[in-house]
Amino acid sequence: MKGSVLAILAVLSFGSLSLAGAQAKLTMIDNPEGQSDAMVALENAAQAKTGVALNVEVVPPDQVNVKLETALAAKVSAYDLFVIDIIDLPKYAAAGWVAPLNNFISPQMQKDILPFAKQGVYSNGQWLALPWKAEFMSFAYNKKMLSDAGFDHAPATWDELIKMSVALKAKKLVDFPMVFTWGAGYEQITSDYTMLVADLGGTLFDDKGEPAFNKGAGVKALQMMYDMMYVQKIVDPSALTIKGGGTRRDLLAGGQGAFAFLWGTPLVDLNDAKKSSLAGQFDIALAPRGAGGPYSLAGPMGLAITSTCKDKDAAWKILSSLAGPEGEKEMFLKDGAPTGWRSVLQDPDVAASLAKSGGAVMAKQAEYIAIRPALAYYGEWSSALQDTVQRVLVKKVGVQKGLDDLAKLTKELKAKYTK
């Protein structure tokens, strides 16, 4: 009798232990790659400066959106700050999950934001985030490896890149010169494919919003990916099991590759002797082009406040400290994290560092930027695309058939997601 009561109390107290510990601070959700040592230092500094307490929840990358969207859909204020990617912007805006910043952001700030960065934070007249790591991919290559093979410049076209890679491989300088990471369920697949389509002069969707990837450049791009892996053999087949931009950088820095597309300001880390064993051998160049232009892909991101946040004033304070010009300048100087603020780019320290890390090239690249399609059903579409690419690359389905199936699925998704 007494025992049962005691036991019931035990269970209840365990339960309430879980109810207790309500958080009095703001919570930001992020993935491990975003929480570099520099970022952690910035977070601490921002808390000290603004007096707002911030708790950062680090979650595996494929869990971030799940946890975030679940909380938002249930209208539970588990998270206050989060990193929003341009590909999620349409969905989050339509669902009303982001708190508009129009009342917080000053006209001066609005003018300071670079145009391509604005795409990631502004939608339908509403400012939804501050630019955060508004980055695009840079084409990095191992200059020394190329000169060892007798090449004195970076490839300007994809044909040239393939020729050079075949030569590098023949001279046994490297087994798989072109580094890609196309692991299962990895967004990079979509990024790389979109970029290639742009380089070859095509688009994924036509003006009417209908799928265009199963003809022309779309088909050529996927065929090229296949050929690079199985015909010219310059891309490692085990790329299909690898994920991570850091991994691509490590492969390049370890001499396991000659060419790679890297986010951010890659030369900062690649030529840093503490982080890279082949420091000093790297440079960046404009992306190789095909029939189109030397396009690279941008993924302007933003740091945003959730609509469920209970204290938006405090959230804005710490947000502007982290993602405002001063914060972004810190992140650039320490991590090479790119910025979306004009004033930061013009800052003398930043300009000097940029000049050393290929700033001139990056400025030129900024004129040839492609972005991924803005779809309310982007998540599902991108998953389907990644699946298609993987199936083609494991030879389960042909290029044309794979893309045709994808086009059919896309039309179904579109129909399902419009009221």
Binding site: S4, I8, V66, K91, A184, G185, S238, T241, Y377, E380
Partner: protein, 300 residues
């Protein structure tokens, strides 16, 4: 005796009362959610498109599951996994058990160590095998190269068919030792007189194996068959870490398929329907299992 029986054994009310906390826990956290799960399976929750609202679809999710080629493929892969586990696992375990059945020094220690693969957490197993199967620096490639069986490194987890086989073998590794222990226990339950009688009758050791050992171990074998099949349907940890279902979904077994439906696609209604279908399937298997153990007990 009957006097003390009525004094000590308590009635239904007393039983239930002592069990109240357990019942609260189990009914609250296990049975109630089951009902909710059934309810969810009848709706499309549109978690990723909240502007579309919640829609009642009746048995739509179930129909979609049963007609889905992806789900069918996942079930096929799961059955393949259990087939490998049974087809290879039983002979290997039986062999090991026969080897360990003879007395030798340190036998106790060896038997004790058999349990190690089973206790290693599933995610660590995934880590372990991803290292062993690594296409550039893995142990499997290293050993085969040194033994001269291959002349260049093989990317084990790229080819779809091979990837699934590798997952099946990795899973096999963790279950064979336990099965060996079960067979060992079974072997030691066979009276030596049976063998002596057989050899007096002129039977060879191979003959006595097929005529005595194998039939007497049949109950263990049958139970293993069913349990391994049930387990295959919930395999998740290993696949999540080792292959993530890839490449190109070639290692997507039902456990992983379900996880993706629920927590990657956030399609809760569909995932609940899937879960119920799998639950019913494994429930039938569990039913056969309990029937088997019941007849087992009765025949003793």
């Amino acid at each position: 005796m009957s006097y003390s029986l009525s004094l000590r054994r308590h009635g239904a009310m007393s039983t239930v009362f002592l069990m109240t906390p357990s019942l609260i826990l189990i009914f609250g956290l296990l049975l109630a959610p089951l009902g909710y799960s059934l309810a969810i399976s009848l709706f499309d929750l549109h978690a990723t498109a909240p502007w579309l609202g919640v829609r009642f679809v009746g048995l739509g999710n179930f129909a979609k599951a049963l007609s889905s080629p992806a789900f069918g493929a996942a079930v096929a892969r799961t059955l393949y996994l259990s087939a490998v586990g049974i087809g290879l696992g039983i002979p290997i375990s039986l062999g090991f058990a026969l080897i360990l059945n003879r007395p030798f020094k340190l036998r106790g220690l060896v038997r004790g160590l058999l349990i190690v693969p089973w206790v290693i957490p599933g995610s660590v197993q995934g880590l372990l095998w991803s290292r062993i199967f690594d296409p550039h620096y893995g142990a499997l490639n290293g050993i085969l190269l040194q033994l001269g069986l291959i002349d260049s490194y093989v990317p084990w987890l790229i080819d779809p068919a091979r990837a699934l086989l590798m997952v099946a073998l990795a899973n096999l590794w963790s279950t064979v030792p336990m099965l060996t222990l079960l067979y060992l226990a079974g072997l030691q339950g066979i009276p030596k007189e049976l063998y002596e009688a057989a050899s007096v009758d002129g039977s060879t050791s191979v003959g006595s194996f097929w005529r005595i050992t194998f039939p007497l171990l049949l109950p263990v074998t049958l139970i293993t068959l069913i349990l391994k099949t049930i387990d295959a349907f919930s395999l998740f940890d290993l696949v999540y870490i080792l292959t993530g279902g890839g490449p190109a979904d070639s290692t997507q077994v039902t456990g992983y398929y379900l996880y993706q439906a629920a927590f990657t696609s956030l399609d809760y209604g569909y995932a609940s329907a899937l879960a119920w279908i799998i639950a019913l399937a494994t429930g039938c298997l569990a039913f056969f299992y309990s029937k088997l153990t019941r007849t087992e007990e009765e025949s003793r």
